[in-house]
């Protein structure tokens, strides 16, 4: 809402000085329309090709000549894809909840200047953001902790991020102290104040972190590729990465010939897979939109 108001006053202030449409406004609008088109077109082309019934690339880059839903039926009849979907959804849900819990609790404590040893905790949190063990020691560590080849290898390493904590911390610092003081006067405990007073007024920041965590979980393929083996823990984004890496050289080989004989276009199936993998995470945005832009801005400006 804050942003809306700021923008509102802005456009009013602007219009006072220039009522007529200048050449700049036209050019600006055209540039932004073109930019939006360039950003959206690759998505459109992928969706279009996922419905393509031809055995080759769709000959037009505007619209398909023949349509089919066959690629989607093939995708959803693939057992690995189903496992991947389930794992991706699970890790996104569990990962988002744990990250929100751990980060917001830590951020609330760290936002209080009377937290003992606060400086030490800050140091402990900040050092790993600038220096880390590197890929191999990280892997060996996860292995010795017994996390590799378990579902928790997706969750534990992504429960805490310094940047997320800072956004939440800045937000908690901006919660009016009178609100908290009043609750304390009524005899509420710190935990109660946190859950009933602080969290409800911090929804924008929480939504921002939820969005960050969900996007990062959904798109993570690296951990599936290097920390797990077999198909039990496979995720959608690793299936995709593997598919796109293989297709570079598999083109026009056995796979394609088999596809031709069964009269479907493997390219269309790949695009259908892409669409299936992108729609859920893109759908998350409209739900969180009304919170997150504000949350992100508050955190980033002060931080």
């Amino acid at each position: 809402m804050m942003k809306q108001n700021a923008l509102g006053t802005l456009s009013k202030a602007g219009s006072k000085h220039r009522k007529r449409v200048e050449a700049f406004d036209v050019v600006n609008a055209l540039v932004l329309v073109l930019l939006s088109f360039i950003i959206v077109y690759p998505f459109y082309y992928a969706v279009m090709n996922s419905f393509n019934a031809m055995l080759t690339h769709s000959p037009s880059f505007v619209i398909n000549t023949k349509w089919t839903t066959m690629p989607y039926r093939i995708v959803f009849h693939n057992a690995t894809m189903i496992t991947g979907c389930i794992n991706s959804v699970l890790r996104t849900l569990v990962g988002t909840v744990t990250a929100l819990t751990v980060c917001s609790c830590a951020a609330y404590a760290m936002s209080k200047s009377y937290l003992r040893l606060r400086w030490l905790y800050m140091l402990i949190f900040i050092i790993p953001t600038f220096f880390g063990g590197g890929q191999i020691p990280v892997y060996l560590n996860l292995k010795s902790l017994g996390l590799t080849n378990t579902f928790w290898v997706y969750i534990v390493p992504k429960t805490f991020a310094f940047f997320w904590m800072v956004i939440l911390m800045t937000n908690f610092k901006n919660v009016p102290t009178e609100l908290e003081e009043a609750a304390y006067m009524d005899g509420a405990s710190t935990l109660r104040v946190f859950f009933t007073i602080v969290l409800p007024v911090s929804l924008p920041a929480l939504a921002t972190i939820a969005l960050y965590a969900a996007v990062s979980q959904w798109n993570s393929w690296y951990d599936t590729a290097y920390y797990t083996s077999g198909n039990d823990l496979i995720t959608l984004s690793w299936i995709l990465m593997r598919t796109v890496k293989e297709q570079q050289f598999a083109e026009m080989t056995v796979e394609i010939r088999a596809a031709r004989e069964n009269s479907y276009n493997p390219e269309a199936v790949k695009m259908a897979t892409m669409v299936v993998a992108s729609v859920p995470i893109i759908m998350i945005y409209p739900f969180l939109q009304r919170y997150f832009v504000k949350g992100l801005m508050v955190g980033s400006i002060k931080g």
Partner: protein
């Protein structure tokens, strides 16, 4: 009761229970950071050892700087480093200003509805990972019937077809352009936030003096955006040896055909470390990478402090 009797002398919530609660709230994060981020630092020692899976980290033999010497004497070493630094440099030059430009242009729009639409559309690519993005571009750039080739053929710009994904010379432009495509909208949020908070009186004062658009940007908008830009720039400098944090993207877009341009330190580490199981060697290369990154971050921070008064710490 006690609290109520002297509300001004003891600040509410500062008692011992409150302290214990707060400590209990921060410790889960501390434990996770220690286990996940600090434990691996202990493993760095295998860069100076001959690590063997069966003897373990501690019992493996110390061999000094052998792995570092090995790395710097390989043929591919300098090519990989050059690729990494060059890619990061290109990203610093070309990927940092488009979000600022977008934020400024969005702010000049008169219709809030139009503005919101453009914003929402420009965020789309942020939500998908590089595996999906690569799949989409693979399809778009395909030499046999992909939209871009067909489009360029119809315009008569090219005769045959170009395989953008399999040639060295197209690799870097492709990485830069797709980077901009993916991040321009999302990165503009932070700048737009700053612009929205600029005092409108400043612009009005300038407008009375007959200030034009460029003057507005030069003397009001940019000075407000500069602190944010400088901070992001410093952070980006600390990622130079990681190719501008581009592992996911480079892994997706890189292949054997454009290896001469697409092999960066991170892909090299993963290949030698995981595919060839040379743990100690890859750790040594990784350590070299992190140390240089840290030095670059601290240096750029210091330089920025002297030149612009802005710094991380």
């Amino acid at each position: 009761m006690q609290r109520k009797s002297k509300p001004n002398s003891v600040v509410a919530g500062h008692d011992i229970w409150s302290q214990i609660t707060l400590q209990a709230m921060v410790w889960p994060a501390i434990i996770i950071v220690i286990f996940i981020s600090y434990f691996p630092m202990y493993g760095i020692q295998i860069a100076f050892k001959n690590y063997d899976i069966f003897t373990g980290i501690r019992a493996s033999k110390w061999i000094g700087l052998v792995h570092f010497k090995d790395f710097f004497s390989t043929e591919s070493c300098w090519r990989v480093i050059a690729n990494t630094v060059y890619l990061a440099f290109l990203k610093l030059v070309f990927c940092m200003w488009p979000p600022i430009l977008l934020a400024v242009l969005l702010n000049e729009l008169r219709s809030p509805k139009f503005m919101k639409t453009v914003q929402t559309l420009s965020y789309l690519p942020h939500f998908i990972g590089w595996s999906i993005a690569y799949g989409i571009f693979y399809n778009l750039l395909n030499p046999s019937g992909g939209a871009l080739n067909v489009f360029m053929q119809k315009l008569g710009l090219i005769e045959g077809s170009i395989n953008f994904l399999a040639e060295d010379k197209y690799f870097r432009p492709m990485i830069i352009l797709t980077s901009i495509w993916k991040s321009i909208g999302w990165s503009s949020i932070i700048y737009l936030g700053v612009i929205c908070n600029i005092d409108q009186g400043l612009y009005e004062a300038l407008a009375i003096d007959g200030g034009r658009r460029w003057a507005k940007f030069r003397y009001i908008t940019w000075p407000h955006l500069r602190p944010t830009f400088v901070i992001l720039f410093i952070l980006e400098c600390g990622k130079v040896m990681s190719g501008g944090d581009g592992f996911d993207q480079v892994y997706a877009f890189g292949n054997a055909l454009n290896r001469n341009a697409s092999d960066i330190l991170d892909t090299y580490i993963m290949r030698t470390g995981f595919d060839n199981a040379r743990y100690s060697y890859a750790t040594a290369v990784g350590l070299f990478k992190s140390v240089v990154n840290l030095i670059l971050l601290l240096t750029s921070n210091k330089v920025s402090k002297m030149m612009t008064d802005e710094s991380l710490f």
